[in-house]
């Protein structure tokens, strides 16, 4: 994990969505936007559904949706969960939402082991994000 070269990229939402209260970032690992590569490959309608939801997340911090869990039980991260997609994010440092991992849910619920392993990644990416923000501010 420590050999990974990690940076972050900020996504801008349309002005008509309203004034953002959160910045939206995603990870770039070894030069690849690993979460957004998956997003890019989704069907158009799915992408629009998720884009609009991310817009609400950025502008309405108490936004409620069955497609969104701001914080998972026992963990310091949340998930966007339209249909079988799981986009994981954490909120950190000066109100920024950072998408850092993706999982395609198969049959049944996502196991505790999966959530635990995603949490380890979250800890790593959150440290990297703090460094990134401090370096760039």
């Amino acid at each position: 994990m420590l050999k990974l070269k990690v940076t972050f990229d900020e996504i801008r939402i349309p002005l008509s969505y309203g004034a953002p209260k959160f910045g939206i970032f995603h990870v770039i690992v070894n030069g690849r936007p690993k979460v957004m590569e998956i997003f890019d490959g989704l069907q158009e309608t799915e992408k629009k559904r998720i884009k609009r939801l991310i817009g609400f997340m950025a502008t309405q911090p108490d936004f409620k949706s069955d497609d969104l869990r701001w914080q998972l039980k026992n963990y310091q991260y949340g998930e966007l969960k339209p249909r079988h997609h799981r986009f994981f994010f954490f909120i950190s440092y000066r109100n920024n939402i950072v998408f850092f991992d993706y999982l395609e849910k198969k049959k049944g619920s996502v196991s505790d082991e999966h959530y635990e392993s995603i949490n380890k990644k979250r800890i790593f990416y959150e440290q990297e994000f703090r460094r990134y923000i401090e370096k760039n501010s």
């Binding site: 002005l15 008509s16 209260k21 690849r32 590569e37 890019d40 409620k64 109100n95």
Partner: protein, 159 residues
């Protein structure tokens, strides 16, 4: 960064910064509708079991309803709204602006935020929207109901 990754990033930036088309606006209305319903249910302590009883549908049917598509019928929206005790009306952004702020259409975003602090996007001609039945002040942090364990993250401010 490889050419492929650069292209992906470019597409992502263009996609996210593009102003919404009709389908995306439809998703916006649906997301907003369920946000209002879920907020009202939480405030009034209405469970999904209550809702299924009121609608005369099974719990799995309720789950299906909340597993939304942009093609939800107006009838279904009204049925859900009635079951939780919310009145839905359709109006335009222009009218909302006039009612809330007394400003003319096209006024600044700041003025459009109104006394509730709720942002109302700049009006588009003839654009219909659902008036939110519940308008609350916005606060930054996780919804209280979703915090199930104490947070030790200093950047998260629960309320």
């Amino acid at each position: 960064m490889s050419k492929n990754s650069e292209d992906t990033l470019k597409r992502i930036h263009e996609f996210f910064s593009a102003e919404p088309d009709a389908e995306e606006k439809a998703w916006g209305l649906i997301h907003e509708f369920y946000h209002q319903v879920l907020t009202y249910m939480e405030e009034k302590h209405i469970t999904r079991a209550n809702l299924s009883k009121k609608l005369g549908k099974s719990r799995s049917a309720i789950t299906q309803i909340f597993n939304k598509t942009p093609n939800i019928s107006v009838l279904k929206m009204v049925e859900i709204a009635d079951a939780v005790g919310v009145d839905l009306v359709i109006t335009t952004r222009k009218k909302i602006e006039t009612v809330k702020t007394g400003t003319r259409a096209g006024a600044s975003q700041k003025a459009a935020a109104g006394s509730s602090g709720r942002y109302i996007a700049p009006p588009a001609p003839n654009q219909a929207t659902v008036i939110p039945p519940v308008v609350r002040d916005r606060q930054i942090g996780y919804p209280a109901s979703e915090i199930e364990k104490g947070s030790d993250n200093e950047d998260i401010t629960p309320y």
